[in-house]
Symmetry: C2
Subunit: 590 residues, 2 copies
């Protein structure tokens, strides 16, 4: 059977490219080694194949329903898979040992989760939302909150959610209206409606720990008034909290994950004064805490998109090698036997594109995970600060680039299959539907352009962009020294990186933020392609061996530099021109 | 309620741009006038709105099933809508009066059909497949075949299909294995299996007229041995012919149209010697006849993609104008009320992109329909020949460009809706699923690149490309004379058109077809963007009035020249470099 993710590629990225085996030399990871890392990856592959992949299509065909008792009905395989996942300790993989974790490096735990996501994106989401929630509380919760909520989540007995959006406020958190009123006992009463809550209700676990953004009295207007609360489905004494499932959203894809509309404090399970909420950290700092989780969630969305793109790549690669049809342009004639379709240059183009998107996105994601390990455990402060800054700059790209291009990979996977790919008999149409979610949630695509150009590259007086450029420059220097094809790629990358710097300065030069940000999405996409070209060149330098695997890495690099990187010129030209088309068009004209 | 297609735009294209009112001066259309044209368009809008649009979502949710009696079960609304469509004479709209048609110009009948397609792509497919089938038989059938099969199709009593693909042979017709054996009575016995047959079985009509490609004895190998047969579901005496429904394909979208696997002559309804087939035209010329229909079908697929892109554009435009969220970059602060999302430049970008794709595709399609009218009715031979040649060159673009970019428009329509767009509550996710079919059928995307670069632009010693370039040149000349923005666009278009000519010569210069065609898809996509830029400039020249509608046309032109046309430079560079990446990559490396 097809691997959903190539283990050879994962091993290459971890051990030949990202120097993951350096990490066990650090105190936090001292108990780890190649052996423990491989053990986790082997376990992940085994469980993903046996428990997650088999019900991926079933869950898509059997959408979550609300039963007559008002409870969510899921196919049982989802619960079984997640139970085994929790029992294996995988929810706690990267957490501290003192709260029950394995203290795995993020680099390795992300590789593990991607294996699961490629096998079954929807089922894994319950677990990874829980990891994000638990990470936040482990960092900002009180010891008591950690004992009460985090430990059971790490054991897989409770699952977690994040409740930000409301029906009228998705990207615009300043406009949320959910309220938190202080109660005499120090808790809060939460009232309001939250929309798009993934994993918002189900019977998979004993309890569900909602992290809810709400406005408590005394905060400023807009985002300043926002605080963060733990609002569990069941209170610690076992009584039901006033959190009510209003409805399930029915979606084009990602159907195995319940997506809910929740009412807090509407009286369904209480006196109507509000659901009980426990403040996390300080009042009015909710958005700060949530952004911590959101950065992680954004990188997580990138991995989800990557996993789907990768799974489609693998499926269509297998198909393209066995499906025969047509003949080479220069060897036509009915007496010539049909060839495997991968022998047609246009099919090879679609395969190389998918490879460059899926493996490029995985490299980007694992590079970010490695940065997170650096940020948390690098021996000196400067290295930590540098890793932090680079990760800040890369986060919008790590979310948006895979969401855009691994979706495109899924479209190509369908195309390679021809009509068969459009049928539900094959897997690739589901990947395409599942992946269409990723440019929407955790910040819609355009939001990340504003984040990158409006905040990240200009942060610390421009240090954000500088650290990225310097890091790319190190690869360029090594590639120049290597000579040959690498040196050619280095020149192309150097030119586009230099241009990116010029363009960044040019768009900010007039001092008009609205004008500077008018084409922030083009900026995001151009930067994303430059970043991924850089990571391909960096992989190229690590892939000098003679075997097929390395030749494949070199071919994908060649593809990316030949077909993809040149696309950025038109985007950078557009930015340099400070084009006002989108600002100057009157909606009435359309 | 939202129009699915803007009537103002249709009127502009027909009457202000394509000079459709010149056509009634020709003998064939002498009974027509603006009044009859408007009558058809009014009727189409009315019927599309009342009978087709209301069940679009229902049909998607209620896929065709095979009932216990082996018959196909569809929701009744499909039959009701198609009955009314046939009764109104719309299947026969463009056919000769002497066989019951209205002799409408293709330009007008295509505008009419697009209105229906935008309201309900799947239901309309039954009718438009029938039109294509009837067109072929009206042209190549005997008078007796026309009476027996074409007339009932034009009345809507019979529907038609085209049966080309087989499970092992989609794009590669040389490999079909369906056989035709001559019978003593002059008919043939057809045996074999046909795959992906849209409308291949149903109970909507008294009979189904299959046009089947099969190999009869005595033809050469490969495509030379292919002949074309009429194989009806019921024979003229009312007995069942041996055509058996083996199964329905379950698809990601376009679910209202049955898509079938059919067995011919397997003994289900006969003695196993074969289904009765009637030869169309001469033996072994089947592919020639079918290509006649296929050209029409390909332009039809372009219209289908266009209609879906257009419907999504209209839905998301309505949404973007009423949904409020967020504030302008230069007017933040919680006291500022949220603005309609179309006020955000990135949302405006997505709207202008959709407008430029959907309206650009509609202009392209109607321009081709107008060329078909020229080919059939222009007063002088030279104009007819010229129209024929230009239409040949544009056909692969008219199929592939809308299939690619109106799908992208549908993705943007989802994005504009945010999470709501991903739910089945709204319409846009269905458009996206429906439209994903169009780059696959009637020649997969890559096939059209081979057709354009390998045949069309080099036909008649290069006259194919020359006639396109000359026609674009006429618009460039007028735009230069007009001055202002038009002159600027003219220079950009002239540069890319000249480059296209150079690149075409360069790829063929080495005399190596495999190398020349290695990047034929990039050639197709670059040419498509240049063609649509040309048609936008041509619309711009016709849109000089002061009202909002014309301002919108000018804004979309500006968008296309600023954001889209520059993309072709990277594609043309790739082609000019005669890049061998896809030819030189060994599949074993992947």
């Amino acid at each position: 059977m097809t691997e959903h993710l190539s283990r050879r590629d994962v091993d290459f990225l971890l051990y030949e490219w990202l120097d993951t085996l350096e990490l066990p030399q650090r105190e936090r990871f001292a108990e780890h080694s190649r052996e423990t890392f491989d053990g986790i990856l082997d376990l992940s592959e085994d469980m993903a194949t046996k428990l997650f992949a088999p019900h991926n299509k079933t869950a898509d065909r059997t959408e979550p329903q609300i039963g007559p008792d008002g409870k969510v009905v899921l196919i049982p395989e989802i619960g079984e898979a997640l139970k085994a996942f929790g029992d294996a300790g995988l929810i706690a993989a990267s957490f501290d040992e003192e709260i029950g974790g394995m203290q795995l490096p993020n680099t390795v735990s992300r590789a593990s989760t991607t294996i699961f996501q490629a096998a079954n994106a929807a089922t894994t989401s319950y677990a990874f939302l829980t990891v994000g929630n638990a990470n936040l509380l482990a960092k900002y919760g009180t010891p008591d909150q950690i004992d009460t909520w985090v430990r059971p989540m790490l054991e897989g007995r409770y699952f977690g959610t994040m409740c930000l959006s409301e029906p009228q406020a998705g990207s615009s958190l300043a406009d949320i209206t959910t309220k938190a009123a202080p109660a005499p006992d120090g808790t809060y009463r939460i009232t309001g409606t939250k929309m798009w809550i993934s994993g918002g209700d189900h019977e998979l676990t004993e309890n569900i720990v909602h992290l809810v953004l709400a406005k408590a009295p005394g905060g400023g207007p807009g985002v300043k008034g926002i605080s963060l609360f733990i609002v569990p489905k069941f209170l610690p004494d076992g009584t039901r909290n006033d959190v009510a499932l209003v409805g399930l959203n029915h979606k084009m894809g990602n159907r195995g994950t319940t997506n809910t509309l929740l009412n807090f404090g509407d009286g369904s399970f209480g006196d109507g004064t509000g659901a009980v909420g426990y403040l996390v950290g300080e009042l009015h700092r909710g958005l700060f805490y949530m952004f911590n989780m959101m950065n992680e969630a954004r990188i997580g969305v990138g991995f989800l998109a990557t996993a789907l793109g990768y799974a489609g790549f693998q499926k269509s690669l297998e198909y393209a090698k066995v499906r025969t049809q047509g003949r080479p342009v220069d060897a036509k004639g009915p007496d010539v036997p049909p060839v495997p379709i991968i022998d047609h240059p246009d099919v090879m183009r679609m395969m190389l594109a998918q490879k460059s998107y899926a493996e490029g996105a995985l490299a980007l994601g694992l590079y970010c995970a490695r940065l997170l390990d650096e940020e948390q455990t690098a021996p000196d402060d400067e290295a930590r600060a540098r890793a932090h800054l680079l990760l800040e700059v890369l986060t919008p790209i790590a979310k948006s680039w895979p969401s855009q291009w691994c979706l495109e990979a899924n479209s190509l996977a369908i195309q390679v299959h021809g009509g068969y790919g459009y049928t539900t008999e094959f897997d690739v149409e589901q990947f395409y539907r599942d992946n269409r979610l990723n440019p929407i949630h955790e910040g819609a695509h355009g939001i990340h352009g504003l984040d990158l150009l409006g905040r990240k590259v200009v942060m610390d007086g421009g240090r954000g962009l500088a650290v990225l450029t310097e890091t790319i420059g190190e690869t360029i220097d090594r590639a120049r020294s290597a000579g040959g094809d690498a040196a050619g790629y280095a020149e192309a990358l150097a030119a586009q990186t230099a241009r990116l710097g010029e363009v960044t300065a040019a768009v900010w030069a007039p001092g008009d933020p609205a004008l500077a940000l008018a084409n922030a999405t083009a900026y995001l996409e151009a930067t994303g392609h430059i970043v991924v070209a850089w990571l391909w060149l960096d992989q190229f330098l690590a892939a000098s061996g003679p075997d097929d695997f390395y030749a494949g890495k070199r071919a994908a690099t060649k593809y990316f530099f030949t077909y993809e990187l040149p696309k950025t010129t038109a985007q950078l030209d557009l930015l340099a021109a400070l084009d006002r088309t989108t600002m100057d068009t009157d909606p009435a004209w359309l």
